[in-house]
């Protein structure tokens, strides 16, 4: 991993020194082993703080919307992040010539919770990737575990590990993982099987944990409106009290607003402090759109029209058309 980090640092310091960009967005290491938050580097000398490790999962592209003061910004993009770039381009929220994209092919990021569970009672000090193994440093010494088993759920079903849009690649591409349609939609299909009241009970159990922190909205590359309807005071679409009706309203409308535009990066589910399986809701919509109006993968081509923005005269309908 060190060599990858060094490649990133070199790209960033070169670009900043040559004044190609005035800011580079990447990742850095924070206090704990599982923390690799987004880093902002505007000075070549600081580029050495950039890292690439099993926890650099945060999607940095949403921060591009706040970087208007920089004429040109460089940003490191994984496969999922690069589809977010296409998302912002398609939504006309980003000018392509004001960003320089450094593609970082990614073979999946590690779920710290899964690792902690695998080492109960032991204090993990450091985790490093070594090929397809993870080297975990605990009190008793180093232990090696297969990385594949500890990946985030969203990474296990990732179909685009390589950036789909970039100006230069930091290192060679990785082999894409084979993800079957069944495994992608298996949780949705399971939920569709059960009775409607049981399904409501299931979602009530999930959403009663929702504290409406709006993290799922803030992290979502498709939720990029300048003014969000949930923040509007007049008309007020969403009540402020902690109430199940309002929570369901928020979650349904949030999912609906990204319908046909969500590209399953899974950041909503990862960021959720209550661990609500939000991606299932998005996958349900994607499954329906694919079934009714043809297969569509969002975030691949910024020139596309999303499926809810177009129509065909012979479209089928999911309701009684008689």
């Amino acid at each position: 991993m060190r060599e990858y980090s060094e490649k990133m640092q070199k790209i960033a310091s070169d670009a900043l020194e040559k004044k190609e960009v005035s800011l580079v967005i990447g990742w850095r290491k924070k206090d704990f082993w599982w923390q690799s938050p987004v880093a902002f580097v505007d000075d070549a000398a600081q580029a050495r703080q950039l890292v690439w490790d099993p926890f650099t999962v945060n999607n940095p592209i949403k921060y591009l919307l706040d970087q208007d003061c920089h004429e040109k910004t460089g940003v490191f993009v994984k496969g999922c992040d690069s589809r977010g770039i296409n998302r912002l381009l398609q939504d006309r929220r980003l000018e392509r010539d004001r960003v320089v994209l450094y593609g970082v092919p990614c073979d999946g990021k590690v779920d710290a919770a899964k690792l902690k569970k695998a080492f109960p009672g032991q204090k993990i000090k450091q985790v490093a990737a070594a090929g397809d193994q993870l080297s975990v440093t605990v009190d008793g010494g180093d232990e090696s575990v297969p990385a594949k088993e500890y990946l985030l759920d969203k990474c296990q079903s990732c179909r685009y590990p390589n950036p789909v849009v970039y100006d230069r690649l930091a290192w060679e591409e990785v082999a894409p993982r084979q993800v079957s349609e069944e495994s992608r939609f298996s949780r949705v299909a399971d939920l569709e099987q059960i009775d409607v009241d049981e399904r409501f009970a299931y979602w009530s159990r999930q959403f009663e944990r929702c504290i409406r922190c709006f993290a799922c909205r803030n992290v979502c590359p498709a939720c990029n409106c300048v003014t969000c309807i949930f923040d509007q005071a007049e008309p007020r679409w969403l009540g402020k009290a902690s109430d199940m009706g309002d929570t369901l309203n928020y979650q349904m409308i949030r999912a609906f607003h990204v319908a046909g535009r969500c590209f399953e990066c899974g950041e909503c589910e990862r960021i959720c402090p209550a661990g609500i399986p939000l991606l299932d809701l998005h996958r349900k919509i994607i499954k329906d759109l694919n079934g009714y109006y043809g297969e569509y993968d969002a975030g691949l081509n910024p020139e596309d029209n999303p499926p809810l923005g177009i129509y065909r005269g012979e479209d089928p309908a999911g309701f009684d058309e008689s």
Binding site: W203, N249, K284, I285, R312, G313, G318, D320
Partner: protein
């Protein structure tokens, strides 16, 4: 939770009717002296694609037991293509509401033209009957 009496339950149905077809259909039902349940409250909208999904969920939250969106038949839209967009949008929304555990009968979408007064009356009678047998909407309702 207060106990809601099931006996003699009269549902509240909110009907979003497009100005050019379904609202005219409602008018025709009236001028032809057809009767349909008084549970239906009509909201006139310029086009079925004017109906924002938030309207529907908000209606459920504020006391509606059923919501119906009625628009022109595909191809007949006064604005050329509005109802084609509604068709895609409400297909997704209807499946999503069902996936979240809302009974599919509570939210309906129908195409009713200006000449279909009888159809308007029968559709409204139908959804009222459907929702009456389901009972009051407690799932999405604002409890405050």
């Amino acid at each position: 939770m207060s106990v809601v009496k099931q006996e003699g339950f009269e549902p509240l149905i909110v009907a979003f009717c497009c100005n050019w077809c379904s609202y005219a259909g409602a008018d025709l039902a009236g001028t032809s002296r057809m009767s349909y349940p008084s549970n239906v409250r009509i909201v006139r909208v310029p086009c079925s694609s004017r109906v924002n999904p938030s309207f529907i969920i908000r209606a459920f939250q504020r006391g509606a037991d059923g919501v119906i969106v009625a628009g022109c038949h595909p191809g007949d839209c006064h604005y050329h293509s509005g109802n084609f967009f509604s068709r895609r949008r409400f297909t997704v929304l209807k499946q999503m509401l069902e996936f979240m555990g809302i009974e599919p009968e509570r939210f309906q979408v129908r195409w009713i033209s200006g000449s279909e007064g009888a159809k308007f009356a029968s559709v409204m009678a139908g959804i009222t009957q459907d929702v009456k047998s389901l009972g009051p909407n407690r799932k999405l309702r604002d409890v405050r």
